[in-house]
């Protein structure tokens, strides 16, 4: 451990380990001070864990507020002590996660003291909020692993949301709308690919132009078309599909297996892309193109073709993410309704270290910050709503700057390739 000065992928320097230990202690003191002393003794916090649709109804979890906070604080303090004394080596981030979890749980117990909180609802909205982020991040993974930066996820999502809504309403079939959304994403992907591969336009600028273009075009068309033809903006929504048996499992069922098609597609895509990218010959080639295109070229991989292919695929996945807004969530299109989720997706991709599963985890974290914000505001926690709304973005900054630290993008990311 002492030799791992500048950091093996999982390990950290001794100094940093000490500092982290102090942070853990500080968090535990925070738990004692705010959450244990802040809860009057005798109050209990109730967490609802059942939707009433499962095999067995899980009883509400009722915890004594003060002693629970004390218990969680003790765990955090203990871990902090161990961290300073001997460190956890490459499990440090896991321990950091555990301490932060203690803090959040203690916070929730304090916030919900003498009240009840629907934990199940909070977790399922975490997953739902993570859907467009995960899909957007997957789009980024596909493009960037092949060496093309895709900052246009937002614009692709917005365009697909619009196209999906209008196609589904015009033809009266949600699946057609979904396909149209994916196709429009693919088209913008192709545009990005042509700009950045064929014409070697700076990829950040190319992506930004697509974002501005998409916002302008969809706003114009929606103001023009939808104000006079409202029936073109009522596509309906995909309904919830309950997976037999699985959806009846207590706690897990209602959260993961009682959702609409987008959520299941998301699971599938995370698994498929993770497998394809790291376990197949195709994935090896893509990664070679993203890391060292010249070497890839030398062994006969068609660099530009791989890049075209991946950027278009990325566009399709972003299109799916966009269609979620209109066909999976609200059932109509309105101006700028993606509201910057595409950029958070980009952050999720970086936080997830350009890995599909990592990106999914990161998206869940943002989703959690988002739904936590809602619950805290409902529980009347004395924090200004403006600050609560910052939570997902604060998490982004904290995580990307503090925890991810030295995340390494594919070496040739953003660089056009020219055969010499």
């Amino acid at each position: 451990m002492s030799t791992a000065a500048a950091g093996l992928p999982g390990g950290i320097s001794q100094k940093r380990a000490r500092v982290l230990g102090l942070v853990f202690i500080a968090l535990s003191l925070g738990i004692f001070w705010w959450f244990a002393l802040g809860s009057e003794s005798g109050l209990s916090s109730t967490f609802k864990l059942s939707s009433g649709n499962e095999f067995v109804t899980v009883p509400d979890l009722s915890l004594p507020a003060r002693s629970t906070a004390l218990f969680l604080g003790t765990i955090a303090a203990f871990l902090g002590g161990l961290q300073i004394a001997r460190g956890f080596g490459n499990k440090t981030y896991l321990v950091l996660g555990a301490v932060v979890l203690c803090f959040i749980l203690a916070f929730l117990v304090w916030a919900a003291r003498d009240r009840s909180l629907n934990m199940l609802g909070m977790l399922s909205s975490t997953l739902l909020r993570a859907v467009p982020l995960t899909l957007g991040a997957l789009s980024g993974v596909l493009c960037e692993r092949a060496g093309v930066i895709n900052i246009a996820i937002e614009g692709m999502m917005l365009t697909a949301a619009f196209t999906g809504a209008i196609a589904a309403s015009a033809i009266g079939n949600l699946w057609i709308g979904l396909l149209a959304g994916i196709a429009s994403g693919a088209l913008l992907g192709l545009l990005l690919a042509v700009l950045s591969i064929r014409y070697r336009v700076d990829q950040i600028i190319g992506g930004t132009v697509i974002n501005i273009f998409a916002l302008g075009l969809t706003s114009y068309l929606s103001a023009r078309v939808f104000s006079s033809y409202q029936n073109l903006n009522s596509p309906g929504r995909f309904s919830v599909i309950e997976i037999p048996l699985l959806s009846k499992i207590p706690i897990i069922g209602p959260i993961f297996f009682s959702n609409n098609i987008f959520i299941y597609l998301m699971y599938a895509l995370v698994a498929v892309i993770a497998f394809a990218m790291f376990r197949t010959r195709w994935g090896l080639r893509v990664r070679a193109v993203g890391e060292h295109p010249k070497a890839a070229d030398t062994v006969g991989i068609k660099v530009l073709r791989v890049r075209y292919q991946n950027v278009v695929l990325g566009g399709m996945v972003a299109g799916l993410a966009g269609a979620y807004f209109t066909l999976g969530s609200v059932g109509r299109f309105d101006e700028n309704m993606t509201a910057g989720r595409g950029f958070i997706a980009l952050a999720a991709m970086i936080f997830g270290r350009w890995h599909p599963v990592g990106a999914f985890g990161a998206a869940l974290l943002f989703g959690f910050a988002d739904s936590l914000q809602n619950k805290l505001a409902i529980l009347k926690v004395p924090i200004a709503s403006e600050f609560l709304l910052m939570a997902p973005y604060l998490v982004t900054i904290f995580v990307v700057a503090g925890v991810v630290g030295r995340a390494r993008p594919p070496a040739a990311d953003g660089q056009p390739y020219t055969k010499e």
Binding site: K48, L117, N118, G121, M122, S125, L128, R129, P132, L195, Y199, R200, V201, D202, I205, G206, V209, I210, I212, F213, L215, G216, L217, S219, Y220, S222, A223, R224, F226, S227, S228, S234, R237, S239, V240, Y324, F325, S329, V330, G331, R332, D334, E335, N336, M337, A339, R341, D370, S371, N374, K375, A377, I378, K380, A384, S385, E386, L389, T418, E420
Partner: protein, 369 residues
């Protein structure tokens, strides 16, 4: 290496294209009905040759609530007075000032800026162009440094005491709630939004006080509460609503323009609860969700905007404050529509009485916060 580097003309071309599309979105002046209005040929309308121009807040002209209601006033003026109605949409707050300036250059007879967030830009424009007439919705100009009210002779401030109408809606909602919890959330915590939530809370409190009940209001405590952060993210609106339903609220008041449509989707999928729409009668502006609307807190911006335009046409325009109240019909609650049969007659009569009491000043909304 000869061919390295990007082609500047290509970027330039795409930038121009993108800007063009963006500009199109903003400059979509409405020409639909100009010129071919029936009746205009037979008899010249008083406002013929004049233009009334609206700059929207973000959210779009067809947002089913805020911008759209104000624009209804312009359309009415176009039909009845013969003025030409135009609008510019603001995609971001950065568009406010350029949009206002574009209309000043076009020589509009009155520029109507819709929304609290346009306050600063409008005040600056009104001060710099004393001959240009303005009307602004939801702003009462106020100089915070000097602590005094500001009046521009060329700017009409159209404000609405929506808390009076929301009070009535909150009262009915408290009476209708089966779970004993009603909810609300807003877009951004700014006065024209929170005033709805204040009225909602006060109405529920009044119900509790007179009936000895304990209906709880989730999402607003008189100062702060539940917000989505903008007027665009409908997915967030849906999510926020699901959170409120999870915690047991069964009547919800979303004060967030189109974001509220996310609530309607959430309720429809959940198959429970009802909504109170804002700004317009939901059963008229969002017909497809009519079965979800218990009632609506109407903020009759269209009437105020129409009156402002009419005053320009007949030359009686003067700057200063207009305040829409229950008394002058500037605010009100919509019919109960599909819920009509479910609401007790006693509640209906009580609402009528409450309305009279608020008009007469016997009940002051702020006393019940």
């Amino acid at each position: 290496m000869r061919n390295r580097g990007m082609k500047p003309w290509l970027i330039a071309m795409f930038l121009v294209l993108a800007m063009f599309a963006a500009a199109c979105a903003e400059e979509s002046t409405d020409g639909e009905d100009t010129g071919d209005d029936t009746g205009t040929e037979e008899e010249a309308l008083p406002g013929e040759g004049m233009t009334a121009c609206q700059v929207t807040d973000t959210g779009g002209i067809d947002d089913k609530s805020f911008n759209q209601t104000a624009y209804a006033g312009l359309e009415q003026a176009q039909e009845e007075l013969g003025v030409e109605a135009k609008f510019l949409e603001s995609s971001t707050p950065n568009d406010f000032e350029p949009n206002i300036n574009a209309f000043i250059e076009q020589g509009c007879d009155i520029i109507i800026t819709v929304g609290f967030l346009l306050g600063d830009a409008t005040a600056a424009a009104a001060e710099a162009n004393p001959d240009q007439k303005f009307a602004i919705v939801d702003v009462d100009f106020f100089d915070f440094e000097k602590g005094e009210d500001v009046v521009y002779d060329n700017a009409k401030e159209l404000t609405f005491q929506t808390d009076q109408a929301a009070f009535l809606a909150g009262y009915v909602a408290a009476g209708m709630s089966e779970t004993g919890k009603i909810g609300t959330y807003g877009g951004i915590n700014i006065p024209p939004v929170s005033i709805f939530m204040n009225g909602w809370l006060a109405g529920a409190n009044y119900w509790n006080e007179t009936k000895g009940a304990a209906v709880e209001v989730l999402g607003w405590d008189g100062k702060d509460g539940l917000f989505t952060g903008d007027f665009e993210d409908q997915d967030k609106g849906r999510n926020t609503t699901e959170s409120l339903l999870d915690e047991g609220a069964d009547v919800i008041l979303p004060v967030a323009g189109p974001v509220g449509l996310g609530s309607a989707a959430a309720l429809q999928d959940a198959g429970e609860g009802s909504l109170v729409w804002v700004d317009t009668d939901g059963c008229v502006s969002v017909e497809e969700y009519c079965d979800l609307f218990l009632t609506s807190v109407m903020k009759n911006m269209n009437i105020a905007v129409y009156d402002a335009i009419a005053s320009v046409v007949d030359g009686s325009f003067e700057g200063g404050l207009y305040s829409g109240t229950l008394e002058n019909g500037g605010v009100g609650i919509a019919p109960f529509n599909e819920f009509d049969s479910q609401i007790d007659d006693t509640i209906k009569t009580e609402v009528e009485e409450l309305q009279q009491k608020i008009i007469s000043g016997e009940i002051v909304v702020a006393d019940y916060l």
